[in-house]
Subunit: 343 residues, 3 copies
């Protein structure tokens, strides 16, 4: 899908101030990463220098701006970030056209609730008894939807996904291929030399606008639910254990693992390969840098790093001190010798 | 499934000493984690304080105990841990009723050995030539069972699992969705600037009562077998390489990786995100704390932590010393200055 | 498949100098790891001591060698490493005989390009519109091949693999079960308190002779392509993000994660559980030891370790210094006391 500056102006209700050197646009990007076929926006004055140097094809700007970089298309709008969201939705909606229909090879239990004229069920899909599929939802080839699973509207479930019994998805949820929702949590009691399995009878609930990456696993709760909050985006190969609660609009990057009953507030960012121990809390807007290992609860609104996690600045100091350790050992030896001489 | 105190008393052959404030019970838990609908047990005097403070609905106690916390149902039994095991089996058996039958969409090669009246084969299952499926085993939707695979009795193979050719499972094995048993081990010879693949002609053997988590991968041996011992429980997204031997009743928590030909004794506990290098041994009852990296063989009966792994107490001392490093650097600087003055 | 010394001599165009104690051979291994049914080779004089002590069944040797260990079959060839490659190819070709045919349960869109007499499509495979499948390629049960995917000749796609739309594979590519090629990259713009999805409209290209492990995930590019170079071998549970470029003949071991737009040169070796941050470069023939965390670009031809990555020898010194830290703290305390006394 390609947009012209005219389409973008109309879509955003804006005013075209300058045409640039590109004529069609197909992507979106931040000002510093945008290329000439990308649309970007100036949402905050702190990015003004990025704006002046941008290579974007089009930038959406607020009325206050009166300098326009050469060769860049400029569209003035009241609220650039909102307008930019409209552009993104437009591009996304058209990138993967939805076509209703049920492939004849799909195996759908008799009592499944869905409107055949409004869902898209691909080849080899299996939907078990009691499930509910919302309108405009697409289920990809080979996906397995367990008993009594509820999937909202406009979801996109890719190939070979597994959703086990009773789990619940909101609207506009995207599950990338191979991810597993609702496997049993890892729970055993040690009795007479054996690990006896503790039934995992809870579910997973996934709120609106969540995306979950390829081959990630989200375990069902022992009782109650494991829950992923609205707008949270989870990357590939992430493990989320039973009874975890993730807040709204969090980012959980690849290969992170979150142990049982841990809780994230809203807007937590968790970079790749991090690990969070069980039964603790990470506050709103906390940021974990890559491979952080969280061993006790953390306040929000701070950046953390290291194993065990500490404020990133402290960890960076520790790292710097560490690199001076070999020379410190020599210095102490030299001091000792001098002292012995004095003595 | 819900049990009453009467059912539990009968099931355990015990004596009801006190009814509690709850009337039905559906879960099991340790004394300190139990809630009012849970059944727990006092198996060891060291948990006596937990017993006095428990919020469990019912506790199974030994005859020696004569104090009964208010509001908690008390059932006296000869051996609480054994009796507790009986309760767990009862709850587990009823949580997922087994219904024999083969879905018409399943594709089963002609020479597969199974008793259609005693197995449960779900929609879209594929079972290749020469396989054997034991009685009371359930195979979930979309699972693929390779040539000559042998699966014992009462196993539970979830959706979209892959078991490649010739691998062997004991009885009561549980494979969570998406796990892969018997992929090729990672083995190449470097010849004239290219990595040439070394055939991986061995198998994987999985003993009785093993459980393997969602999207975990257990590679087949180069020759011989990769083996997982009786009662071992493996969590999600775990990687077990070719020719690894895991002993009995081990716990291997999420996102751990075990490299080729490593060996675990029995009752090893390996917390999440650990890594074990190839060709080394971890002794019986060793415990690896989270994200431990094992680079040489470790004796059993100890707790380890860190990269490289060392006894946990040493690692904790190292961590404590590390946090004092920045002030140590200042102290040495101050000493040097004083010394120079004296000098 | 088993070979005799006569077959091996004929296959390599060599000269049989000594028959050993074994009569049939089925595997290949390096001199120090080979067992009596293995074939090995002496390709470099630095392995001469391994040669003298080898337990291999047969060794391919160059004409210059005139000592033959007792009990080992010896075949003289002009170029042992090349000849060894021939043996490996022979063993590999025979280990998994290719049988053309399309299982009737496979669902193949009408406009897919393939020669039914030259491909092997197993049960439950789904191939979507516009795909191309090369000759002598096998696609395993339950695999899903997306729209317009192009797969070259002699590839081996195992069970339950997912390849999403438009991705391209060269010849002789092996994909182990459950791996996912072409899931969406992890990209969002933060607009008005929400993470809006950035369309990922690029593809993944996988060159000739690449192998990818079970349940690994390789994301499609935002624009353009994520690319894996010729002969590169990727282990299980590896995450490769959007727009990553991996060079030729690299090794990427299990549970490693490579973030967006990172680039590897050729012959990079990356041991297990490593992590590479986005937008940086790792030079040709660099080696990353286990669990290395790369936070800035690295030159080639060096060995690295640690988080953040530094030359392995420096990291080892740091580790050694660290283990002396507790005693260093005591020493400084003792120096201070002495100094105070002097003072």
């Amino acid at each position: 899908m390609e947009l012209t500056i005219e389409t973008i102006t109309k879509l955003t209700g804006g005013k075209m101030l300058q045409t640039g050197s590109s004529t069609t646009f197909q992507g979106v990007a931040s000002l510093d990463e945008a290329q000439k076929t990308d649309i970007s926006f100036l949402g905050n004055e702190k990015y003004y220098n990025d704006y002046l140097a941008t290579e974007a094809g089009i930038v959406l700007v607020p009325p206050i701006v009166d300098t326009y970089p050469e060769g860049v298309g400029i569209v003035e709008v009241e609220n650039p970030s909102l307008a930019f969201g409209e552009v993104m939705k437009k591009l996304a909606a058209d990138s993967r056209p939805f076509t209703a229909g049920i492939h004849p090879s799909a195996i759908i239990a008799e009592d499944v609730t869905l409107d055949p004229s409004k869902v898209s069920i691909k080849a080899g899909v299996i939907i078990e008894s009691g499930a509910f599929i919302g309108d405009h939802t697409e289920i990809g080839p080979g996906a397995v939807i367990g008993e009594n699973v509820k999937i909202g509207d406009a979801c996109l479930i890719y190939a070979n996904v597994t959703i086990r019994e009773n789990c619940q998805l909101g609207n506009r949820v995207i599950l990338q291929p191979g991810c597993v929702i609702g496997a049993d949590g890892y729970g055993y009691e040690f009795v007479d030399g054996k690990h006896l399995k503790i039934d995992q009878v809870g579910i997973v609930t996934i709120a609106d606008d969540v995306e979950i990456g390829a081959n990630s696993t989200i375990d069902r709760a022992r009782f109650g639910k494991t829950s992923i909050g609205e707008g949270t985006k989870i990357d590939n190969l992430v493990q989320i254990a039973h009874n975890v609660k993730i807040g709204k609009h969090c980012l959980v990057v690849a290969q992170t693992g979150i142990a049982g009953s841990a809780e994230f507030g809203d807007y937590v960012t968790c970079a790749a390969q991090s690990g969070i121990a069980g039964h603790l809390k990470v506050g709103d807007k906390a940021t974990l840098m890559g491979r952080t290992g969280v061993m006790k609860s953390l306040d929000g609104d701070q950046v953390y790093w290291g194993l065990p996690a500490r404020p990133a600045k402290e960890e960076q100091k520790k790292q710097a001190a560490l690199s001076r350790l070999p020379s410190l050992i020599k210095e102490v030896k030299s001091i000792r010798q001098k002292l012995d001489k004095i003595d």
